[in-house]
């Protein structure tokens, strides 16, 4: 429909859509572009063509350290979130559970509470007990923040699943636990993994949590980029950012294949 070109006015809509899509990708494209410049300062379009910024990033152990930190806390945070979210979703998706509204509100609350207030609170609560936020404190905070995303994906998937499957398994002799493990969970695993991927990427990209809670000895990738961007920009940052953009494109393409992500991502 939007590609039909019978009348010239029909062109307006596709052009508008294309322009907005360009708007969406432009800052990312520009970043990738500036990463290849031969100049020592940022410029777009790039002057010359070199991969030296990328090799410099890959050789610099501090980037690797920051990336590793981010990977570890994001993985631990999203897995811990799963431990909370999956049982909660299982309970909430069963009909006739009383107080399910309260539990749902509690599970979903971290989405509604402004992140910066939550993080301030976590920081202050460590202060109150005269301790510095430990590294697992970062993991706990990220787990709370990402639990809603996994829970929401799982609740959606479980409530869309035919309740007859569980009943059928039990009528064939399976116990309730067996029916869940062998029949119900395998049928929502795809949704779980897309929820997990979303939670992981949100935790990995999270800036405010480590900015408040992590000391300088434990830089994460977004914090490291943030500090560099705020104080001295160079094509090296573009190179790091480009790598993240590539990861984002891969994850987005993967996520788009599962239609449930588009509905739960927000």
């Amino acid at each position: 429909m939007i590609l039909s070109l019978r009348r010239p006015t029909r062109l307006i809509f596709p052009v508008v859509v294309a322009a907005i899509m360009v708007f969406l990708v432009s800052p990312l494209v520009v970043l990738v572009g500036t990463a290849f410049t031969t100049t020592s300062y940022l410029t777009f379009p790039p002057k010359g063509w070199t991969l030296s910024w990328f090799t410099q990033v890959l050789r610099d152990p501090t980037w690797g350290y920051a990336a590793l930190n981010s990977l570890v806390i994001a993985a631990a945070g999203s897995l811990l979130a799963s431990v909370v979210a999956i049982p909660a979703a299982v309970v909430l998706s069963r009909r006739g559970v009383r107080a399910s509204n309260t539990v749902t509100t509690l599970i979903m609350a971290p989405i509604m509470v402004p992140g910066i207030m939550f993080v301030l609170g976590v920081m202050l609560s460590y202060n109150r007990f005269d301790m510095a936020a430990p590294q697992w404190g970062l993991v706990l905070a990220l787990a709370v923040l990402t639990t809603p995303y996994i829970a929401r994906t799982m609740i959606a998937a479980l409530s869309q699943l035919d309740p007859g499957l569980e009943e059928a398994a039990m009528s064939l002799g399976a116990s309730r636990v067996r029916a869940w493990v062998q029949i119900v969970l395998p049928n929502v695993s795809k949704s779980y993994f897309s929820g997990l991927a979303l939670a992981f990427i949100l935790a990995f990209d999270e800036l405010v949590v480590p900015l408040f809670l992590a000391g300088p000895s434990f830089p994460t990738l977004p914090v490291r980029i943030y500090r560099s961007v705020a104080f001295d920009v160079s094509p090296e940052i573009s190179a790091v950012s480009s790598l993240l953009v590539v990861v984002a494109v891969v994850v987005a393409t993967f996520a788009v294949r599962d239609p449930s992500t588009a509905k739960t991502a927000r």
């Binding site: 499957l165 059928a168 067996r178």
Partner: protein
Amino acid sequence: MSDLEITGLTKRYGTESALDDVTFTVSDGELVTVLGHSGSGKTTLLRSVAGFIEPTSGDVRVNGNSLLDLPINRRGIGIVFQNYALFPHMTVRQNVGYGLRVRRIRKDEVRERVDRELERVQLSKYADRKPAQLSGGQQQRVALARALVLEPSIVLFDEPFSNLDAMLRDGLRRDLRQLQRRLGFTALFVTHDQREAMALADRVAVMRSGRLVQYGPPQEIYNRPSQVEVAALLGRSNLLRCLVKERDAMPVLEWCGQPLIADDSIPAHAREVTAFIRPENLVIEPPVEGATSRPNVITGRVVSTDYFGSASLITVETENNEPILVEARHNALSDQDVSVGAQVTVRIPKEAIRILD
């Protein structure tokens, strides 16, 4: 021997009764259909027997032993679900073998029994497909095979054909009936389709508002409904509200001033009753002068004719604007004029009248 005995089964939600004191027995090897509209309690009945719903009171017994204390997975009852509930992540073979694997039966025996079962429902070719790759009719047969491979003595069917088109349904119904006779399992089959209920059943249990309103062979239910509502549930009927008058010390019916003589007995002291007449038992005759005074003869005008191939459904409107439905086979009509607007006489054979209160 597996008699299924349902006694005083009741399920209340607050003050609402979804199931109200239902009692009947399904004998060994019998196929009973439970017929009712949605909300009649037929699904609650089936789910209570299966164990998905805990009844408020009453009992479900198999060979005299109560099922109620047994968890769902120990009841040993096969169930074929309305939407089949096939496990989407398993192949046909894995679906059918699931119950056997749960019972820890040896692998080669599982394979052998699954193969035999798939052969029986003619699905051997599709053993390694996923349910989503099968047609509705094939999925239905997988669901049947999955339940039957466990050789249950009792099988419950929850409207298993309702998602299939009419042509397919007739064939599957015949196959199921043959299979049930051959294997000899006791079956409870829930449906809202009266044709299906009658075609399949040894006996039909008619449910209404949570109660069992009639239980008997299909012929009896069709010809001798216990209530107006049962009559209406099983196909078209004429329900004529009649006054009871006395003539020569005998009670006779009068419908719109027209006397009706019936073979059926009129309940004592009744002042008003309903005469129930199946449209196919009425006879259309050419108009006769002065017919109005003769008992069991009604004159009127044809207002519509629906052609069904073997027969036509003719709506005749009387002088009092009351509609009468007549189903006439074409050979019985010969060259009678039943086109819209034609004047006709409808004769009501006295043995065709059933009296309902």
